[in-house]
């Protein structure tokens, strides 16, 4: 490495001292050579992980919700997050989507996008979609309209004023309606759907968003076994092109979809691995079953 590049690297390092990812970037050759190009607005997953959470800490009024949490989601993986109540699962999702800002630590989308600096809508358009714990749909809109609103398209004000659905877009909506099984309810007001149907609608909206990362918070709460199977199928099919992070309590469901499982406890990662590994982990057993 030339002297100038060395200096440049050192300066860049100094300036980004709080933004270095020790285990990946510095060892990378292109960084050392100073040839790695940075595009701040583009998703860069050249190094593998699509979501980085490093040493995230969040406290509310003295209660430590997240405690030096470090988590990495690889591009295209299907990860399940489990853990007892209060472990910080929902807060973690809040941090990723920008609903809560971390007190310390870094959260990155790809290599370049600092989620702690982005507004919620920008995070969404960048490619992170979320399904909430409690089904949050638009009650006064029809199923069709809910999906139309979620559709991945220009979401600017002027565009919205004059846009008309193209045939392609209409097809896409119909496609998704079929996937979520609400064909009979195209024009019903979303408010009138059952709890389970609302869950599906929200999943449908997530699909319409076509995000790179899907954050799914308790998708099968209140579903029948049949519906659970459908959900499992759907989520598994999404993995690969998308990255899916599922928070769930239902162990059967988790077992049916998960390769990698992360256990959270009291705001940090307790254990990681396959379902068997995690289930046989002594610490995990203690936490779940008590002493």
């Amino acid at each position: 490495m030339s002297a100038l590049s060395q200096v440049r690297y050192k300066v860049r390092d100094a300036l980004r001292r709080d933004r270095t990812f020790n285990h990946t970037i510095i060892e990378s050759d292109s960084y050392l050579q100073g040839t790695h190009s940075i595009h701040p607005n583009e998703l860069d997953v050249s190094h593998g992980p699509v979501l980085y959470l490093e040493d995230i800490s969040v406290s509310f009024d003295g209660f430590q919700a997240l405690n030096n949490l470090s988590l990495y989601i690889d591009d295209g993986e299907l990860r399940c997050i489990i853990g007892p109540n209060g472990a910080g699962k929902t807060t973690m999702m809040d941090v990723i989507t920008g609903k809560t800002r971390p007190d310390s630590g870094q959260v990155f989308f790809g290599q370049t996008m600092d989620l702690s600096q982005m507004a919620e809508h920008d995070i969404a358009t960048a490619g992170i979609g979320r399904k909430f714990q409690k089904p949050t749909i638009f009650p006064e809109h029809s199923v069709w309209e809910n999906l139309e609103l979620a559709m991945k398209t220009d979401k600017g004000v002027w565009h919205s004023l004059f846009t008309v659905l193209s045939a392609e877009q209409k097809d896409r909506i119909e496609e998704v309606i079929e996937i979520i099984g609400l064909q009979a309810l195209y024009f019903s007001k979303a408010d009138l759907l059952s709890h389970g149907q609302k869950q599906w609608l929200e999943i449908g909206m997530l699909l319409m968003q076509d995000p790179r990362v899907l954050l799914v918070d308790e998708p099968v709460a209140g579903m029948t076994h049949q519906e659970m199977d459908r959900t499992a199928e759907l989520l598994t099919s999404l993995a690969g092109k998308h990255s899916v992070v599922v928070v769930e309590h239902d162990m059967d469901f988790v077992r049916s979809i998960a390769n990698q499982v992360t256990v959270l406890h009291e705001g940090s990662v307790l254990a990681e691995g396959t379902m068997e590994e995690v289930q046989n982990n002594q610490k995990v057993i203690e936490v779940y079953l008590g002493e």
């Binding site: 507004a119 979609g129 909430f132 609103l149």
Partner: protein, 396 residues
Amino acid sequence: MDSFHKKAVPQEAINMLLNYLFPHFMHKDTGGKWLISLLIAITLLVVIFNFFIPESSALHIPTYMVTLLGKYLCLALLAIALDLVWGYCGILSLGHGAFFALGGYAMGMYLMRQIGDRGVYGNAELPDFMVFLNWHELPWYWQGFEYFSFTALMIILVPGLLAYVFGWMTFRSRVTGVYLSIMTQALTYALLLAFFRNEMGLGGNNGLTDFKDILGFSLQADSTRIVLFTLSALALISGYIASRFIVQSKLGKTVVAIRDAELRTRFIGYKVEDYKLWIFVFSAMLAGIAGALYVPQVGIINPGEFSPLNSIELAIWVAIGGRGTLFGAVIGALLVNYAKTYFTGALPEFWLFALGTLFIVSTLYLPQGIVGLFSQFKNKQQKQSAKHGALQEETT
């Protein structure tokens, strides 16, 4: 065909006719189509019965009534403006009267300049109240108001700008709900206090009045009044149609989504602040236009228009009529203002009691307004007919 189907045919025919006359985005808006048709009919009738039928006839509609109706129509447009931000976006602005008043003041300034040297002091440059205050020069912000085109621009720009600045600050800071409503009250109150001062150069507590003519036409002439009335009706109809277009567009749907689930809307990728700002500014401009048409018809604009009470009353018109429907707002505005005219004439003491009770009753028992009552009634009817139809089918 049973009776139900027999009834349906003429309704369908009328519907088809209306759909032919109205643009496509109005087709689902039955209430709107009926309202506009009614408005057009009434306007024509009023014009005929005032202008073409002589005064001696019993059928003549006196000119003061034409002006009164014109007033109502302007207020109905203002109600549409509020319904846009409140009924559709959930922003209860209790300061919308300010935008109305600002539009009114812009028009007022133009009309003052039009007086020229026909004022009491005969000063071609300075309005009477300025001469009275011993001012020697027209302040810089009065420049340009001698031209109607400039005035027309200001009527839209000034309320729009105020709405933009206020909205930008407020929405960006995620202030919502009751806090926001209080802020809008404070805004209009501050403007009230400011406009009362003579130093503002806008007439002080007397406001701007004694107008002579508009665009060369005398304000006292019957023909001018008829034209102003017709313009008000046109403004109302265009405002309605424009608002309906917005509301059924994706922007409108997004705005409703923001009202119902703001967080969700954000997380789908919509920049909520932009949408709120857009609808708020558009609404303010609409209110400004309403104010501008109001002033030549009532002949005066004074700081009282900024009174916080005015803006709150406005909210009740929309609530009574039925918010989130647009035609509900129009109906509410027309009904309540008619009642106000009637009661303040006949039983003035009673009016405030009635108004207060109206507030309470409408919020407690009429959350959907009159329009809601009507649609509930219709739903019942439809259910009845459906049952009836089903029974019939069973028996045949």
